[in-house]
């Protein structure tokens, strides 16, 4: 088991030193476009979830509402205004991120290969505190979570468009099984993102050294 993800890590880490030989200084763990997009996205996500909870409370899908104190907007009209203002930041920034991720090779380098089996093995190792953290290299659990939250965010945007424009953008609404179902898809996309956020923030709190590189860039480790 050690061997299998040791190999994966080795294969992952071999690309950066070769590039460094040409470019001189060591690569940042998080290049600047990623850092800018990360914090713009953080703002957008907080605003979208907070205002979304307020909108949910106007017509709850389930037998509960979100406490008023943790929602954004104060009332339905303002919450919708915040939601429909920050949707542009979420979707625009997200679109840039996807284009940049594919064009720069970021997704291929950081997220590939995706393996559920390996993620499960590494979760076991992490729970036994046997999973090493390598700066700038994502383990299988991280790769799966980060790829998963991108899918959830894309689903949130598509289901959001399906609810916002069920007539003009009917193809999104039809794709998701109609307006009624699209509301549930939108809700559960939020649940997935919120769940990711809880794990994400917990891990940052437990391993706070990962935070400065997301602000200042940091330096990737040499291959070991």
């Amino acid at each position: 088991m050690q061997n299998s993800f040791g190999q994966a890590g080795g294969a992952q880490a071999q690309t950066p030193p070769m590039r460094q030989a040409r470019s001189g200084p060591r690569r940042a763990i998080h290049p600047w476009p990623l850092r800018v997009m990360h914090w713009l996205n953080a703002l957008a996500i907080v605003m979208m979830i907070g205002s979304g909870w307020q909108i949910y409370d106007a017509s709850p899908l389930f037998g509960f509402t979100f406490p008023h104190e943790i929602t954004i907007g104060g009332w339905l009209g303002a919450a919708i205004a915040w939601h429909l203002a920050f949707m542009w930041l979420l979707a625009g920034n997200g679109l840039f991120y996807l284009l940049w991720g594919f064009a720069s090779g970021h997704f291929r380098r950081k997220f590939w290969p995706l393996s559920v089996a390996q993620a499960l093995r590494e979760t076991g190792a992490a729970l036994r505190l046997q999973l090493p953290h390598r700066r700038g290299v994502y383990n299988a659990v991280q790769r799966l979570l980060y790829a998963g939250v991108i899918v959830a965010a894309a689903l949130a945007v598509i289901s959001g468009l399906a609810i916002w424009k069920p007539v003009q953008l009917w193809f999104f609404t039809d794709l998701l099984g109609g307006y009624f179902v699209a509301r549930y898809v939108h809700f559960f996309a939020m649940v997935a993102i919120t769940g990711f956020l809880a794990i994400h923030l917990l891990l940052v709190a437990l391993v706070p050294k990962v935070l400065p590189p997301m602000i200042f860039g940091g330096k990737a480790e040499e291959d070991r």
């Binding site: 703002l43 907080v46 605003m47 907070g50 205002s51 909108i55 949910y56 106007a58 017509s59 954004i72 907007g73 104060g74 009332w75 339905l76 009209g77 303002a78 919708i80 205004a81 915040w82 429909l84 203002a85 542009w88 505190l129 609810i163 424009k165 069920p166 007539v167 003009q168 953008l169 009917w170 307006y179 009624f180 509301r183 709190a205 437990l206 706070p208």
Partner: protein, 240 residues
């Protein structure tokens, strides 16, 4: 295993900073007459969203229609007052007043409106709150009525005033959409007061609050007149 060193003060500081950001938009549009910075930002974005929705809108894209079996029973009442307070307009003395860029401004009685060709549709009404109902409305297509009275359809707005003090306005493109009705009937019977009698505007390509009930006057013009909810912060176009 590395010892965990939580910088608690830093974390607390960050949590507080995050709280401050989210507290900033704690409550907006409190006082529409005196917009603060956040309100101005939201209004600017709302005007932008109006333009995007107008660009997305097509008179040829029809709202979905449904079968009689899918009609929501009982229909759901919604207004800014309780159902018991819905005003009753006498159908015999009802007059639809016309004003603005219209050639023939003579008021219309209910009997005159009923004498015009009627259309029936089973469509979905989506509320801004998120819920939706399916109903059957019948009445005069607004586009054909506007042409009949010689309205200038190059104008930007069609505005409505209602017997209950409600008011709203829509873009001309939506007014000319083939599914936009001056509805007189619901489920093959005349509208009841709570659901807009004697006449309501039914627009399946817009949210429910853009479907004014108890309409007593109509204006065609180029001056933006807003609406009851729109003036409090709801997006004006609110198309579906």
């Amino acid at each position: 295993m590395k010892k965990l060193d939580l910088p608690r003060r830093k974390l607390l500081g960050r949590a507080l900073a995050l709280g401050a950001i989210t507290a900033l938009p704690a409550c907006n549009y409190d006082d529409p007459a005196n917009p603060d910075l956040a309100d101005k930002f939201l209004l600017a974005m709302s005007r932008w969203n109006d333009r995007v929705q107008a660009a997305l809108f097509s008179r040829h894209t029809l709202a979905p229609t449904f079968s009689a079996a899918q009609i929501t029973e009982p229909p759901r009442f919604n207004a800014f007052y309780d159902i018991s307070q819905a005003p009753v307009v006498d159908p015999a003395s009802y007059q639809l007043e016309l004003s603005g860029q219209i050639q023939e401004k003579a008021p219309w009685s209910l009997a005159q409106l009923r004498a015009l060709p009627q259309e029936s549709q089973i469509t979905r009404l989506v509320c801004v709150e998120g819920w939706r109902v399916i109903g059957q409305w019948a009445g005069v297509p607004l586009g054909s009525f506007l042409k009949r009275i010689g309205a200038d359809t190059t104008c930007r707005y069609v505005s409505f005033k209602c017997a209950d003090g409600y008011y709203s306005s829509i873009d001309m493109e939506s007014a000319l959409h083939p599914q936009t009705l001056m509805a007189l009937d619901f489920l093959n019977a005349p509208l009841t007061p709570a659901f807009g009698a004697p006449m309501r505007i039914r627009i399946p390509t817009k949210l429910g609050f853009k479907n004014p009930k108890l309409v007593i006057s109509m204006n065609v013009g180029n001056v933006y007149t807003g609406g009851y909810w729109e003036d409090q912060g709801y997006n004006w176009f609110s198309g579906s």
